[in-house]
């Protein structure tokens, strides 16, 4: 039988299947019927012999009782007509010794006598086959006492001959049936396969020559006729479809020509528009860079204003102290020139001079410190190298530089950062980032509040510095939250907002600090920016 997936022709499959099924059924039926028939014949033979034995036993009762073996021997000769019986023995049980002894016997013509079976005369009296014979032993009963035994040797040669004939006939019949089935299956196979082959050849021809105008002929098998009809329908539809397709192709070809012309026109127009867009984009980039530069300048200006404001106080104090000292010095010089200088006056001048000089010194020292710190911020951010800086001081310096703006409000800035924490990073970008964030909070977050709260929390974790910037303002509107870091995104367009502050912050974090920034969604309860950037070292 072909395995699953193996290709086999219908012819072979049909013949094989029919022949196998027929052979199997025949073998099964012939085997079963032969076996049952043989068993039946054997049972009939055994029953027949048993009946003869019982009959002989009944008749032998009186012979045994009256000790007349001659009569019994004569009677047994009557069984000459029974061909199945070859030998009969009758045994008598001795009344006194209870021993079994031979009484009389019969041997069929041309059958040699057989030895006495005295030792085999035991219950159960089941017939036993011995070669081509069967031995049947039955007891001779009289008034329920065993008087003796009948032994019959039956001939099974007739049964064996019957079995042989039966087998030959059955096998011959089975073989004949197989031949008939084979011839019939061949005819059926031809009847089926011929139209299939015709249809197959037709389909191959159509497939090869694309000649869909041919039609399959009618065949005398219903299913194949339906297939033939379906193929004809398919061919006619395909033919119609091909004609429609040809027509459509012509139309499409025309349309394509028109379309190509249109496309050419449109392409030219598109190229012109594209060029115009490129020019516009170039101008936009120029504007963007200009605006970014302006923003930087504005940021720088604000920082400079803050610096000027901060430096102005100690400088003013220094000027005041030095001016006062100059006045005191003019007075003491005048008194000295007029020789009216008293020791008390000199002593007071010295004390005042020391105080004024200390004031001037402190003011100038403070100014120097401020300038030094602003200098750190003012260095070029692109080329700035990492420095070990105190992050807490840096935040305070940013707040200091924005003190003027912060002091105008009642907003509060809380710094949660270890005072002694130093990190290896760039001060300028950090300064500008924090300044922009605080400035955004001051401008945008608290317009309706009189006192806001800004929290700057700094943490170090696994070589990363995380700045958590939070305010409790009105938050970022939902419509711009996803593009807060895009350029020119502002809620105050036309009111002085450029929309570049957060874009600048994003660029500084990602490019200058090589970090990342994200805006947590806090709804309308303020903003929460998480800035994370790598640090080369910490103390």
């Amino acid at each position: 039988m072909p395995r699953y997936g193996q290709i086999i022709s219908i012819k072979k499959a049909l013949i094989r299947t029919v022949m196998l099924i027929t052979a199997f059924c025949l073998i099964l039926s012939v085997s079963v019927s032969t076996y049952l028939d043989i068993e039946k014949q054997r049972t009939i033979t055994v029953n027949k012999l048993t009946t003869y034995a019982d009959l002989i036993a009944f008749n032998a009762q009186i012979s045994l009782l009256f000790d007349d073996e001659d009569t019994e021997e004569t009677r047994l000769k009557a069984f000459r007509a029974v061909k199945e019986i070859k030998n009969i023995h009758i045994y008598k049980i001795d009344d006194f010794t209870n021993k079994t002894s031979f009484f009389t016997s019969y041997n069929a013509p041309n059958t040699p006598p057989i030895p006495a079976k005295i030792n085999n005369l035991q219950a159960p009296f089941t017939p036993k086959s011995v070669g081509s014979y069967i031995d049947v032993i039955r007891p001779i009963m009289f008034e329920e006492i065993i008087q003796g035994y009948v032994y019959i040797r039956g001939d099974l040669s007739a049964l064996n001959a019957y079995i042989k004939d039966k087998l030959i006939i059955d096998v011959s019949v089975a073989f004949s049936v197989l031949i008939v089935v084979f011839i019939l299956s061949l005819r059926i196979q031809r009847r089926l396969s011929k139209p299939i082959e015709g249809l197959s050849a037709l389909v191959q021809d159509v497939s090869k020559n694309k000649s869909y105008d041919v039609r399959a002929p009618q065949v005398n098998v219903l299913e194949l006729n339906q297939l033939s009809h379906s193929l004809n329908v398919l061919f006619s539809r395909t033919q119609a479809q091909l004609e429609r397709q040809k027509k459509d192709e012509q139309e499409i070809r025309l349309l394509n020509q028109n379309l190509e012309e249109k496309v050419n026109h449109r392409t030219i127009a598109l190229k012109e528009a594209n060029q115009e867009l490129l020019n516009t984009l170039e101008r936009m980039h120029q504007y963007q860079n200009q605006i970014v530069e302006n923003e930087k300048m504005a940021s720088l200006g604000q920082m400079v204003a803050g610096v000027a404001h901060e430096v102005n106080t100690p400088i003013g104090l220094g000027v005041t102290g030095s001016t006062l000292l100059k006045d005191k010095l003019s007075e003491i010089k005048s008194a000295f020139d007029n020789k009216t200088l008293t020791s008390k006056q000199l002593s007071r001048f010295i004390n005042d001079g020391i105080e004024n000089l200390e004031l001037v010194y402190r003011s100038l020292n403070r100014a120097a410190e401020l300038i030094s710190s602003f200098k750190q911020v003012a260095v070029d951010q692109d080329t700035e190298s990492n420095l070990m800086l105190n992050i807490n001081d840096l935040i305070n310096e940013v707040l200091l530089s924005m003190k003027a703006d912060i002091n105008l409000t009642q907003h509060q800035v809380i710094i949660e950062c270890p005072e002694s924490l130093k990190i290896q990073s760039k001060a300028g970008p950090l300064h500008q980032i924090l300044q922009n964030l605080i400035e955004n909070s001051l401008i945008h977050a608290f317009d309706e509040k009189t006192s806001g709260l800004i929290t700057i929390k700094v943490e170090i974790d696994e070589g990363q510095c995380q700045i958590n910037y939070t305010d409790n303002g009105k938050g970022v509107p939902a419509n711009i939250r996803n593009r807060i870091f895009d350029p020119f995104v502002t809620t105050r367009r036309g009111e002085g907002g450029s929309g570049l502050g957060m874009h600048l912050v994003y660029n500084l974090v990602t490019q200058a600090l090589k970090g990342r920034i994200s805006l947590n969604n806090t709804g309308s309860t303020g903003v929460n920016f998480i800035i994370t950037f790598p640090i080369e070292g910490e103390i």
Binding site: L65, F66, E143
Partner: protein, 182 residues
């Protein structure tokens, strides 16, 4: 109960045959007597007597001192057969009326046979089986004769008398017997 009776009946048969086998050869006459006794007993099992039959199976003898009568009389077990067997002795052969009324089987040895004639036998009822010891007894009109042949006893039956008799002898037994006259 039936099985006990059967067992006892057959044990009697066995005892009879055993006694026959135990007899020495020099006592040939005794052997023949015992074989005849056993044959009389077994014959009764294959004979059907006409109704109304007696409640007992009565074996009648004329010689109490010897022969089958004595032997069977000494067999106490015979009385417990089904039907019970009774051994009855008559000393006068002329009591034919009593014989007809009280006997199923009448056994006549050679001595008694010499005292009877055809008329006596004709007086005996056809319901009774009369058994003798010689072929002459059959010639006189007797029904059955137990005649020794070699060391065996053979049964001879008067066919004419059998056809007139009211008793029925089983065909199996008839297949075994010899008829006289032929």
């Amino acid at each position: 109960m039936k099985s006990i009776n059967l067992l006892f009946n057959n044990s009697l048969l066995i005892a009879l045959f055993c006694s026959l086998l135990l007899i020495p050869k020099n006592t040939y006459a005794e052997d023949i007597t015992k074989v005849r006794s056993a044959f009389i007993f077994k014959l009764s099992k294959f004979i059907t007597f006409p109704a109304p039959s007696l409640s007992n199976m009565n074996f009648c003898f004329f010689d109490k001192k010897q022969g089958p009568g004595k032997f069977l009389y000494n067999m106490e077990g015979l009385k417990s057969q089904t039907p019970p067997i009774s051994i009855i002795f008559f000393d006068d052969i002329d009591k034919t009326t009593e014989l007809n009324q009280g006997c199923n089987i009448i056994y006549l040895n050679e001595n008694i046979q010499s005292k009877i004639d055809k008329q006596w036998i004709n007086k005996i009822s056809s319901k009774v089986v009369v058994i003798g010891e010689t072929l002459e007894f059959l010639d006189l009109g007797g029904l059955v004769a137990l005649i020794p042949k070699g060391n065996k006893v053979r049964i001879f039956i008067n066919k004419t008398k059998l056809s007139q008799s009211q008793v029925k002898i089983e065909s199996r037994l008839l297949a075994l017997v010899k008829f006289h006259p032929q």
